[in-house]
Amino acid sequence: MNGVEVDTGMDTGMDTGVDDVLALGGEKFTSRLIMGTGGAPSLDVLEQALEESGTEITTVAMRRLDPAARGSVLDVLRRKGIKVLPNTAGCFTAGEAVLTARLAREALETNWVKLEVISDERTLLPDPIETFDAAERLVADGFVVLPYIGDDPALARRLEQAGCAAVMPLGAPIGSGLGIRNPHNIELIVESAGVPVILDAGIGTASDAALAMELGCDAVLLASAVTRAQRPGLMAAAMRHAVTAGRAARAAGRIPMRRYAEASSPSLPV
């Protein structure tokens, strides 16, 4: 871990007072940090970051096979025993996303897909119409669909009704590191969701990941915040702790915010 020991004592056995297993797509997970793989300078750095993150699910993109490529992200995930979650990154239409998901199912032997249909290259914001269309088609085709969406409570509800296994609202645009720009909407999504809510995109640093969990999200998905950090392994460890801490804080029940002080010591005798 780059020579720095971080031990908050939160890794194991922390009693959060809740059944702390993430039930997703009919499977159970201990880690609530889902990792992306984009942006890592090398497979070695990626492998170390994944190790430090403690993740059990990691997403990969599908692209044309390059015969000259050496090493594979799949080998890394296999070595680590991490579940592979193919995504449809780079798709602009429902048709492209459906074909990509089917190719991923064939190549990776999983019916899970992180559905990502973007609207334009500049913002990479998800296209809600194409995403919903693709989600309906993929659910009908037997996929476990995890759609990446804007922080839109109405769309989240519609995707849940369409049979998606989770909803994945953004905190801010992909790779922006702007954190959670509309915490209120994330709370609204959490309040009405009957499927796991996974905060996806926008995380910049550990406090953003902790906030996502404090708002009630079930998990966090991030890539750039770790892979493009100056020390990816150390940031991965920070994110692991942040997700655990945020989850515990949510379960613990925070004190209300007050306008004025409330003394924490008994009054002095007069």
Partner: protein, 66 residues
């Protein structure tokens, strides 16, 4: 027979199968999927599916991203 594999023109013997097209590109067998003219060809059908002149073959695998 001329087909396009991942955007490049490739000359294959007549009656070539999807399996032969994949082997023209890579020796990888796992972690790979193929679409011909926008339709997925499952691995079990690679050796029995014959290509036609001008077919568009896409051979994909997982990479870092997303």
């Amino acid at each position: 027979m001329k087909v396009t594999i991942n955007g490049g023109a490739v000359e294959l013997p007549g009656e070539a199968t999807v399996g032969e097209a994949v082997r023209a590109l890579t020796s990888m067998t796992s972690g790979v999927a193929v679409a011909v003219n926008g339709e997925v060809v499952s691995r079990s059908a690679w050796e029995s599916t014959r290509l036609s002149e001008s077919d568009l073959v896409e051979v994909l695998t997982a990479v870092q991203g997303g």
